[in-house]
């Protein structure tokens, strides 16, 4: 009965799978429509008219620009810290077997496995106990902590594929440890680090729960959006910002996917 040229799916399964994917994507597409609506006071559908004026209005909003600039700075510095810590940890865990290795993996994964609110309140109460005032750096501290895991995951997967004999060969040919790192190890793990770095950037750029606990007056883009969600002041500007945020986070994800798609483990599958 069945042909051997690969099975075709039952119609019910096709419908359920398509329906599921539509359920995942339609709400995000809706954001793009709302960015152009002429309606200011409500979320009325269908939009009474379409306009691009809100892009100009948003462009001239200093608070949006300040939030964006803060988010980018926090994400950049957190990513840099996470890259260093995550790579060191991955190199140590994958190159050698030592006592407590499993504990180290757990330690890295914990900040993202426990609900964000626990990480957030733990950091906040620690800052309070240590009498550290909230600042740009307390936000970075929180973000870097949970960004380590994405860099670590990507780097560990790549180290596992990189053969240790290449490093030995390099040493045998007379390169010292630093030269080996620079000319052999780094080129091998570069794309994995780039992918991990981009994912860490996207993760930090989007993070809101830990940020609400570690920020004082600082407003990152997600904090700005949260304020607008709780007390809407200017809905059209929020619509435009939401659309820009979708685009800004999607580009690094696509790039990370293309950088690591040939590997055995694709970046981002464990957020």
């Amino acid at each position: 009965m069945r042909s051997d040229r690969g099975p075709s799916a039952p119609i019910g399964l096709k419908l359920a799978a398509t329906g599921g994917l539509l359920f995942l994507h339609l709400p995000i597409l809706l954001i793009f429509v709302y960015a152009f609506t002429t309606e200011e006071k409500s979320f009325v559908w269908p939009p009474p008219g379409l306009t691009t004026q809100w892009f100009a209005v948003t462009w001239n909003r200093p608070d949006v620009w300040q939030a964006l600039s803060l988010s980018v700075r926090v994400a950049a510095i957190s990513t840099a810290i996470a890259l260093v810590l995550g790579t060191l940890c991955a190199a140590a865990v994958s190159r050698t077997k030592f006592f407590g290795r499993e504990t180290i993996s757990l330690l890295v994964i914990l900040p993202i496995a426990l609900p964000g609110i626990i990480t957030g309140i733990a950091l906040r109460s620690a800052f309070a106990l240590a009498e550290i005032p909230f600042s740009f750096w307390t936000v970075v501290l929180g973000h870097a902590t949970f960004c380590v895991v994405v860099v670590y995951n990507n780097a560990v997967a790549r180290f596992r594929r990189t053969s240790g004999s290449m490093i030995e060969a390099s040493m045998d040919l007379g390169a010292d440890g630093f030269q080996t790192f620079r000319h052999v190890v780094l080129p091998n793990i570069a794309t994995a680090l780039l992918a991990g770095g981009m994912l860490a950037f996207a993760l930090s750029f989007d993070e809101v729960i830990v940020t609400t606990f570690t920020a004082g007056q600082q407003q990152t883009v997600p904090i700005w959006m949260l304020e607008e969600l709780i007390r809407p002041r200017q809905r059209p500007v929020t619509n435009v910002v939401a659309m820009v945020v979708v685009l800004v986070t999607l580009l690094p994800i696509l790039a990370a996917y293309y950088l690591t798609r040939d590997g055995d483990q694709i970046a981002g599958s464990g957020k």
């Binding site: 190199a91 426990l114 733990a122 969600l229």
Partner: protein, 322 residues
């Protein structure tokens, strides 16, 4: 003459001299003592995570054994179980029960919606379609969390697209009937528990799809064919072959959906009723109420629940599916 040009290369030593200086010395030390290199590599991340993260976590948990002076509002730094006693008040138990019920329902619904997507992607999608399915799950997973919630605020609003759609289909009576029900109903979907439930399912769904797909990828296709060759109906094949093999993946996915729902305080705050969830209780206790001990005790609840959950999941082999 032409030989001269080649000479330097030929006479270059096969083994370079050591680079010398501090750098060379360091390199030699690391080569002779790999333990030292390992220690130096591990020190920064372990110090960072150990001090910043574990330190904060332990400090928080210790504070749950302090209590708050109800008159002065000051924190009394003496060991007591009084705060845990407060946690067991009816109002707080209500919050815990509500959150756990929601987390269980969200997990169940995510599993039901995720299965067909994961199964199709694992068994039928090939080549470009496979990549499309993968990105189709990854992009919503990584899209901004707040934007996703915002999108649902637009959809569920009284004047929004869902009401419009139902009106076109002449099904508004159904929505009104649902909203008039106790507990799940409300003034509009965006201020009802149903709305909270839908948004939770939407936001955590990709976390369920990926591990279920990973588990199903490992089920050989001929197993399903063998089952139907032996006379099993599709329903029987699902119950007796596919589902048991997918279960570790479902359990792995449920770790995320369950844990994330337990700790979330933003979704029920933006889309939902005024009845609190654990996350909101923690947030208001530490913020407006200034009762850090009770907030800390509240955070112990999801940690303990997740501890048991992970222990059970590990016994079911769910970690192999991650």
């Amino acid at each position: 003459m032409s030989l001269d040009a080649a000479m330097p290369r030929a006479t270059a030593p096969a083994i370079l001299p050591g680079s010398g200086g501090v750098r060379g010395a360091l390199s030699d030390i690391f080569w002779r003592r790999p333990q030292l290199l390992l220690l130096l590599m591990l020190l920064p991340p372990v110090l960072w995570l150990g001090i910043v993260y574990i330190g904060s976590l332990v400090a928080l948990l210790l504070q749950s054994f302090f209590s708050i002076d109800e008159f002065s509002g000051l924190i009394n730094r003496q060991f007591t179980l009084k705060t845990y006693g407060d946690l067991l008040q009816a109002a707080n138990l209500d919050i815990i029960l509500r959150t756990v019920t929601m987390a269980a329902l969200v997990t169940l619904a995510s599993a039901v919606i995720a299965f067909p997507i994961a199964y199709y992607a694992a068994r039928y999608a090939r080549g470009r379609w496979k990549a499309l399915f993968y990105l189709g799950v990854m992009l919503p997973l990584w899209s901004s969390y707040l934007v996703k919630i915002y999108a649902w605020k637009l959809i569920l609003a009284k004047e929004g697209i869902l009401t419009w759609l139902l009106a076109k289909l002449h099904l508004l009576w159904l929505l009104d009937a649902w909203l008039s029900l106790p507990i799940v109903g409300g003034n509009s979907l965006s201020v009802s528990s149903t709305g909270t439930f839908i948004v939770f399912v939407y936001v955590w769904l990709p976390f369920m799809i990926l591990p279920v797909q990973a588990a199903l990828e490992r089920v050989p296709g001929n197993l399903v064919e063998a089952s139907s060759d032996l006379g099993a109906s599709p329903g029987q094949t699902f119950r007796n072959v596919l589902f048991p093999l997918a279960l570790p993946g479902i359990v792995a996915g449920s770790i995320f959906t369950f844990s994330l729902t337990l700790g979330d305080y933003i979704i029920p705050q933006i889309i939902g009723t005024s009845r609190l969830f654990i996350g909101q209780a923690v947030y208001s206790q530490q913020g407006t109420a200034g009762n850090i001990p009770l907030a800390a005790a509240f955070t112990v609840v999801p940690i303990v629940i997740m501890g048991f959950y992970l222990w059970g999941a590990k016994r079911m082999g769910a970690f192999d599916a991650l």
